[in-house]
Symmetry: C2
Subunit: 126 residues, 2 copies
DNA sequence: TTAATATATGATCATATATTCAGATAATAG
DNA sequence: CTATTATCTGAATATATGATCATATATTAA
């Protein structure tokens, strides 16, 4: 009688087996999780959303969100590390832009899914 | 000279104005953020992904992820609270299923975007 | 060169999260 | 009824995260 950690009360072995074949592997879950984590903070989400329409500098983003430039800079670093944004320098100013091209599509889907106001610009018909 | 907190160095007022009109409002950012937060944990992500294909009970999910049933139960509660999963009881067993219908589509987009292995079942052609 | 501006960075701290453990429910079997 | 199984729940703890502050860097102006 081994004291193994396998009490093994798997109710449906077939389901677990199927899931093992189809479900997300831990590595991909980690990668995708990191992406979703980037979108999980309201501030970062608003940054990404703002960059859907135009490139903006740190100053602009801080003004838009109403937070300190340092805070925005920290958020941007995270987004940069994940490859979600990139910047170009023009003199002293760094302009940030979005890197992925299907982020807008993803946000639209997510907004539908969770009942948030969809992509702005399509609402508020007078 | 007022000691106001408005140093107001908005570099591009036009951009900020445009962003204000188009960008995500704080409330929606919060709502969408909560959804993304649910997908931000690798464990929850794997749960959601597994439920794309079939309903599963707590036991099954715990076995699939290799974690305790209590941990899975806590995660499921969060997902339930957000309306992402629902359950049906069959005797002692609770079967969990996905509620939104476009989650698979969203995951596929996200996987493309961040370079993770896409929807399983479409890979590994022999 | 020095000064000023825009941004980046590191340390710190308060809060949020996830897991574990112990115990509580709910359903069924005997 | 009691025992057992599957799941839920709350408290406690450890870790992760985000904001702030002080300081560092980079670019331009003077």
């Amino acid at each position: 009688m081994n004291n193994d950690r396998c009490a093994c009360r798997i109710v449906h072995e077939d389901k677990v087996a199927l899931a093992r074949r189809l479900a997300l592997d831990p590595a991909s879950a980690q990668t995708m999780g990191n992406f979703f984590k980037a979108c999980a903070d309201p501030g970062r989400l608003r940054i990404l959303h703002a960059l859907l329409h135009q490139e903006m500098c740190v100053c602009d983003l801080a003004a838009l969100l109403g937070v300190s430039e340092s805070a925005v800079s920290h958020q941007l670093r995270l987004l940069r590390t994940l490859g979600l944004v990139a910047n170009r320098r023009d003199g002293v100013v760094l302009y940030y832009r979005l890197v992925p091209d299907n982020l807008g599509q993803l946000f639209t889907l997510a907004a539908e899914l969770c009942g948030a106001a969809a992509e702005a610009g399509e609402e508020a018909l007078p």
